[in-house]
Amino acid sequence: AERLIERARACFLGLALGDALGATTEFMTPVEIRMKFKVHRKIRGGGWLGLKPGQVTDDTEMSLALARALLEQGGWNLQAVAEQFLAWMRAKPVDIGATVRRGINRYRRSGELQTPYNDWDAGNGAVMRMAPVAIMTLGDDEALVRCALEQARLTHNHPLSDAGCLCVGRMVQAALLGADRFRLHQLTRGLVAEHPNFRFNNYHGQASGYVVETLQTVFHYLFTTGSFEECLIGVVNQGGDADTTGAIAGMIAGAFYGLGALPRAWLRRLDRKVREEVEDAAERLVRLSPARERL
């Protein structure tokens, strides 16, 4: 019961930690990272965005915007989510991806809550927002599917992005409910069966924002490491879209390994306001979910 709230906190915090840690190495290659840091393993800011240590990017901010909408409405409300995304874009965020910006702009001008299918929408911008969705629909797979696709299609409309959202959402939920490693791996096998591009057995180190490479990176390190810290360090030192691979790895690993596994040094350096809002949102989202019965 209390464990559920703790794990939800660890999940959402894991997302923020992965974002802040990975932002330092975003767009770098593994060789460049090695030359500059040997191994990048502490929260130090910098990166191409020139961040302060512990500052987060769009991955965490959009997730918080999404959470804020659900908490204000007391439940799922896609319009409220779109409005929060628009307010976030207007507040001049530190970074915003091209596809996300186009989607929010489309909503601003037409009021439409779904972007049309686009070949170029196979980025990871919708998957990175899955933590609050997974927590709030915990206990109801049908609700997870509906809400995951609705929020994704605000900006990304592509079968690979859709499939990625559902798989990551289900992995987070399974982990929150205490699943073991084999169960999590089984969920990835389902994804690979449906979309063989996602196969990650022979991981070659590509870690771009293409959702396939993003999830291959996340799954590779998730299943070849034994702790939250090890998983995230592996992911962010792969460079590429490191803040987002870090964030996605963080939300799954956080839910899986739990609050105690989050490195204290990292938590201390995380932006204080972000940390407080994330912890508060995680708990309140659990209390909104169908799983609240178990509390």
Binding site: M89, R90, K92, A98, R101, I104, R108, W120
Partner: protein, 112 residues
């Protein structure tokens, strides 16, 4: 796609840029130009003689946008850049056949 070219008074750049980012504009290219029109340059002392400075510093904003955003953009730029005094500048709209984002090879509206 359309190209919108705005020639404005230099001190108006920040205001116009602000209005454009509020409309979700993802990017623009800016250059310093000199304008000649009804607005007369001031006279300047140069090597002891007074010269009419005919060409007046302006800033040119070039932005390429989807065709359906043209009216809304023109309206926002005009509102922000206008002082009511001569020399406020011009907005020109022309056609862009193709566009590409060099980093990714994306083309068309997705490249903007």
């Amino acid at each position: 796609m359309k190209r919108i070219e705005c020639i404005i008074k230099p001190f108006k750049l920040d205001d116009v840029k602000g209005a454009l980012t509020n409309l979700g504009i993802s990017g623009m290219t800016v250059s310093e130009v000199r304008g000649f029109g009804r607005q007369k340059g001031h006279t300047e002392l140069y090597r002891g003689a007074e010269y009419q400075i005919d060409f007046i510093p302006k800033v040119k904003i070039d932005l390429v946008i989807p065709a359906d955003q043209v009216d809304e953009i023109i309206e926002a730029v005009q509102k922000e850049a206008c002082t009511g005094r001569i020399g406020d500048g011009k907005i020109f709209v022309s056609d862009i056949d193709q566009a590409m984002r060099i980093r990714t090879g994306e083309t068309g509206i997705d490249s903007l």
